[in-house]
């Protein structure tokens, strides 16, 4: 696989780990990974939003335990650190959906430096998702 496109819409801690883990894995292998953050997940591309990510429902009480398990597995437990690690592979682009950015107050002034910017969903779908060898939505 040479390229992969991922759309992330859920920013619950337990649900955002998987797509970022896949991106980390494939990015480390040199696969070109393009991620579009939509809906609530776009906030992960800000310092404040990344720091506030938590388990939203179902397993909230087990979050401290889960974070400890994640750390024990050698995985960056903190989402902000995980994004940095994913980006450090040099093969992963992190895009903010323009509509989501507008709704959730994400702009150039508060985006983390690892972000590749704000893009339209049409561009992402046609230029990144369609040509990609594999696409996933989380």
């Amino acid at each position: 696989m040479k390229s992969m496109a991922i759309i992330i819409r859920d920013d619950s801690y337990d649900k955002i780990l998987t797509p970022l883990g896949f991106a980390y894995l494939q990015g480390a292998e040199g696969c070109q990974v393009d991620i579009l953050f939509v809906s609530w997940a776009v906030r992960a591309l800000t310092e404040e939003g990344a720091s506030e990510i938590s388990i939203r429902e179902g397993h909230c009480e087990q979050e401290p335990w889960m974070r400890k398990q994640v750390a024990n597995a050698g995985f960056p437990e903190n989402i902000r650190d995980l994004i940095t690690a994913v980006h450090s592979t040099g093969s992963v682009n992190l895009y903010a959906c323009s509509m989501a950015a507008k709704i959730f107050g994400v702009d150039d002034s508060n985006m983390i430096p690892e972000s590749s910017g704000i893009v339209g969903s049409s561009w992402f779908l046609n230029e990144k998702a369609v040509p990609a060898d594999y696409s996933q939505t989380f």
């Binding site: 883990g21 896949f22 980390y24 894995l25 480390a28 292998e29 040199g30 024990n72 597995a73 050698g74 995985f75």
Partner: protein, 80 residues
């Protein structure tokens, strides 16, 4: 696995997917062409991931074995 000279060792014991593969991808870049990399893992996913990775990336899996939950792989780095 017999000890040989000039083998780089990557010990991923205790790490779970995806970290062994992330670290493997980083480690292989530091191995000279035709050099050997020994990987130690305890994640069961390594049993499928590492042979598949070698095949996909063009490296040679020279040897693999398991011992009481620890998996060892000897990989020759192929460049080009």
């Amino acid at each position: 696995m017999p000890k040989q000279a000039n083998i780089t060792t990557l010990d991923t014991s205790g790490l779970s997917c995806p970290m062994p593969m992330v670290k493997l991808n980083q480690a292989i870049k530091k191995v000279s062409p035709d050099g050997l990399l020994e990987v130690i893992a305890t994640d069961r996913g390594a049993l499928t991931d590492i042979p598949s990775w070698c095949n996909r990336m063009g490296h040679v899996l020279i040897e693999s074995n398991s011992d009481n939950g620890t998996y060892n792989f000897l990989i020759r780095r192929i460049v080009g």
